[in-house]
């Protein structure tokens, strides 16, 4: 093998390669992701104004770049940012979901990272769980701890982004088990124990990025802390 790591498939965090998922699991996850994306596209067309466009480009570029940077975690494993919660917080769940999908399509088509038959599952696990689940969890926590205060934003961002990684690992385990690739208990224990730690990296990066924008351009955050200065979307 020419691959320097001598692994038979690309090496990036939760990206599922071709061959790990059964046909039914691929099909159902793919159909579900497609449905959510069509709804997202519809909402973007209806609700978003074109001032969001530059932020969509920048978010996609940042998530793509950050996903290339695996950080080491104790025990000889590594992880990288998923970015779903980050894009959900900055762009809202609808445009955020479209942006994450662009990232996974580029990775799968151009760089053979993540199987094409697993594309729907990868979009769902690493994208939509964050852009929808992560975003709404962030919003609830932020409301509880002070919607327009840094503390509220920080608590919501950190907890939601960590949780999105753990939930993604959980869902990925279930998909692998349903596909008959690995027993559920084995997958759950192994995947969750690594991703509890990988999620801390996700929380740190997401909080750093959102904090920076909170300080410099708070008007760009989807739920802007100063609503008077920004139109709803």
């Amino acid at each position: 093998m020419i691959n320097s790591l001598a692994l038979p498939f690309p090496t990036l965090a939760l990206h599922i390669p071709d061959g790990f998922l059964s046909l039914p699991v691929s099909f159902v996850t793919g159909a579900f992701s497609l449905l959510l994306l069509l709804i997202s596209l519809n909402r973007v067309e209806k609700d978003y104004q074109d001032r969001i466009v530059p932020l969509m480009g920048v978010c996609a570029a940042f998530v793509f770049a950050a996903q290339m940077i695996n950080f080491p975690i104790p025990g000889g494993t590594s992880g990288h940012l998923l970015g779903g919660t980050l894009t959900g917080i900055l762009l809202g769940p609808w445009a955020g979901s479209l942006v994450m999908t662009v990232v996974f399509i580029v990775q799968a088509l151009l760089f053979q990272d993540g199987g094409l038959t697993a594309l729907g599952a990868n979009i769902f696990n690493m994208g939509l769980i964050g852009t929808f689940g992560g975003y709404y969890l962030y919003k609830v926590i932020r409301s509880l701890f002070g919607f327009s205060r840094w503390r509220g934003m920080a608590m919501g961002t950190a907890i939601a982004s960590w949780t999105s990684v753990v939930v993604a690992a959980f869902v990925c385990s279930v998909q692998l088990a349903l596909s008959g690739t690995v027993p559920l208990q084995v997958a759950l224990f192994a995947m969750l124990s690594w991703h509890f730690v990988i999620g801390i990296g996700e929380a740190l990066i997401t909080l750093t990025a959102v904090s920076y924008i909170w300080r410099t351009r708070p008007d760009l955050i989807f739920d802007s802390p100063r609503p008077s200065l920004s139109p709803k979307i």
Binding site: Y48, D50, V58, V106, A187
Partner: protein, 113 residues
Amino acid sequence: MNHSPSSKSKTFIFTGLGSALAIAVLLSPFASTHPDGLDRVAQDHNFEKKAETNPLAQKLPFHAIFDEYSLRGVPKSVATPLAGLIGTLVTFGLSWGLGKVGSKKSDAPDSSS
């Protein structure tokens, strides 16, 4: 009237895209080569061999340009940074384009819908 981005938003675009490119080009050589979460679990529990050895993506023309995150035909030391540079720009462009096609013109009459 098609107004161009304000200078404030130009600053943001340059800072944002600039840091993404810096991450992809300058940091990518230092990325950890340890297996990541799913790879590690696949190795530990002996299902990594189930991965398709000849996946569909390798039959695409892009595989002649990129071997995973390495640009082919350039020295090894710059192969990954260049792949990162191109990938970041492509992702930026596609996402920008999708937003442009999908979103509404901000000038369109909009009464708090």
